[in-house]
Symmetry: C2
Subunit: 406 residues, 2 copies
């Protein structure tokens, strides 16, 4: 009779709900704009003043009275951007003005320099001018009191520009999670050094650190722990004190070397120890105090797929990002695909647009150790249990990890 | 008669070709894997050894001879991952083995622990076993000598994992460009401080710094220069010495305050000073020595659109990335769109999938100062000159800046 794991198999949905309920949103900090890229806004941003704050010239030219039909007008002086004089424009006169300068009193239009000739204190206006022409009225871009950005917005280049434009030097964002990373396993060697017999190179610590950065977290790789209770326990106890989340890989197989779960049980609570999915079935989630601990499988692809499905949503949630979901698309298989009949299987694929349809081609052999299957993949196909052979042309769901090429 | 600019209007294609021919690929450096995320590989990566380097157990269980029909087999000992003993499996015997451990001599299959019972030095095998079952043969993931990553690959989490898996502790990548940033204009105030009369807040320095980071460059914001020849000249001379590219905004309008071009002409060569596009027409490109200098328009949207079309390709090219092109899609307009009849106009839009089609909705008023038009936009619609009114349902080209939502 098969040996049973004491941990029931839970569904992907149950696993995710369990994790998100235990992924606390981190405190709000204020960061200078130069460090705000990728941060998640912790509060709505309201413009305290209009932009522009005064009627401004939209072009270089001459500030005039639009209703004035005089062809030659007397030049009163100039108004340069950033300087405000005491000139007043009246019919028959004009003020030289540069883009962005405040409109002088009396003027109601700007004539572009291209349609003028200036000579000896006089300007010839070679076109007709409508009131308001080439003027940016007060608040044209942003009205006073307007909400320009919503809480939860991820700050990109334009958003950071907007914060600056309304006069803010700092952005209120949620702190980024500090994530401790540990690889476990006596078989793991350090890249750059020779391998001993029976060893392979540790890759998870590096790939997961990169994945943490891409999810907005701050990775703290803490090395390789040997397969010994004391080594792993001392790591966990120390890591919990200084970090917001803990990420381990390896040591969660079913055998006697399921190291992690007993330690997690002793110091905290294991919420699940197996999930009905492929790859990534042994993924384990625990909390120690209020700190989430993810014990990922050791196979490199299993670890990254489990990260994508469970750890990334947690790290985004901790940063206050409610829109962490990847776009889901219906795609057409370019070829026959064999998959697990009993567990939802996530196969790596390239999704592209062909004749107006989304088409998916898997990225070669889908072994859980074969990191090459993730290179060139921009999507995970989510293949529900059922008929093990999907024909070319079948429609399946894809989770988009990267933009679609065209 | 309109005043002519001494700089001819050039096409977008001409401008881009001119820039790319003057964007030198930066030297190759070796960075530790922990700093390699987003780097562009400067050489192919070939696996010096196979992965796994030995036949390994794919599961926890028992190493056996597959052809052996004995139900009860004598337990010879165990082979743990990372340890290599001197056990030899023969018919009638078995060795306990953990996932990732090297297969002991003589064995040709692994039986999962779930299908066994171990008792007093004997193992009962409760299933039939095929040769090779649950074994990862040598080179299953990566063959010795296999090219695992190509020169020009942008390093993500899986790629960094692959480098580690083949034993590399460092990645050869092109150095990231150091980019000096300067805003020019007497009208610019510093966010966080009160504005003087006639001033607005500088936003370009912050939005462009973020855009440089997103393009893989390292931004060095050097402040605001007043509209004075000496201030701008001394900035440029100093910036060129310490940076790979220079980015200014403002000061390239047509009037007397077209500050930048005379200085650029005096110290280097201006390759173009106007481009047939909207927004961004005054964008100027020069070189000082072999350093590219981009003088972007001052309006915030103009600056970011010009960055996207001209500066980002240059910065990606300098990093050795040949695939910097954004995906281009044919999209259907969700509503009527008015556009410039004579210049290619780039309108900001949200592109989404609706009933299997890509649909685009513009993000409100498209003024060149209105940064809000970039918030929530994942695409630039590229509207070619022609009929100024495009009806709802018209097909246009979109440059995808962000993934498509679903």
């Amino acid at each position: 009779m098969p040996v049973d794991s004491p941990y029931p198999l839970v569904s992907i949905e149950h696993a995710l709900t369990t994790i998100l309920a235990r992924s606390p949103v981190l405190p709000v900090i204020r960061v200078p704009l130069a460090q705000a890229l990728g941060g998640v806004l912790a509060a709505d941003v309201v413009a305290p003043a209009p932009v522009p704050p005064f009627p401004a010239a939209a072009k270089d030219g001459y500030a005039v009275v639009a209703g004035d039909a005089t062809r030659h007008r007397r030049l009163l002086g100039e108004q340069m951007a950033g300087h405000v004089g005491h000139l007043r424009v009246e019919p028959g006169s004009a003020v030289r003005i540069t883009t962005g300068a405040a409109l002088p009193a009396g003027a109601d239009a700007v004539v572009m320099v291209e349609y003028t000739t200036e000579r000896e204190g006089w300007v010839e206006i070679e076109t007709t001018v409508a009131p308001g022409a080439d003027i940016r009225p007060v608040g044209q871009d942003i009205a006073a009191g307007q909400r320009v950005l919503e809480r939860g917005t991820v700050l990109g280049a334009a958003e950071i520009g907007l914060l600056a434009a309304v006069g803010l030097a700092e952005a209120p964002v949620h702190r980024r999670p500090r994530v401790a990373l540990l690889s476990t396993g006596d078989e793991l060697g350090e890249p750059g050094e020779p391998l001993a017999a029976g060893q392979i190179y540790d890759s998870n610590r590096f790939s997961l650190a990169a994945a943490v950065s891409l999810a907005g977290g701050v990775p703290h790789p803490l090395g390789i722990a040997v397969d010994a209770h004391e080594a792993v326990e001392s790591f966990l106890v120390q890591a919990v004190a200084d970090h917001d989340a803990i990420l381990t890989s390896g040591g969660v197989s079913m055998g006697k070397l399921d190291l992690l779960k007993p330690i997690l049980e002793a110091h905290g609570e294991v919420h699940f120890g197996r999930v009905v999915m492929k790859p990534g079935k042994p993924v384990t989630f625990a909390t120690i105090g209020d700190k989430p601990v993810f014990a990922l499988p050791g196979f490199p692809v299993s670890a990254l797929v489990a990260f994508e499905l469970f750890v990334r949503p947690a790290l985004r949630t901790m940063q206050g990002d409610a829109h962490w979901q990847r776009p889901r698309l219906q795609v057409t298989l370019a070829h026959e695909v064999e998959h697990d009949a009993r567990r939802t299987e996530f196969q790596r694929a390239a999704v592209y647009v062909d004749k107006g349809r989304f088409v998916a081609r898997t990225t070669g052999a889908q072994g859980s150790g074969r990191l090459l299957s993730l290179v060139g993949a921009n999507a995970l196909l989510e293949l529900a249990p059922g008929e093990p052979l999907l024909p070319a042309g079948a429609e399946v769901t894809a989770l988009l990890l990267q933009p679609i090429g065209a």
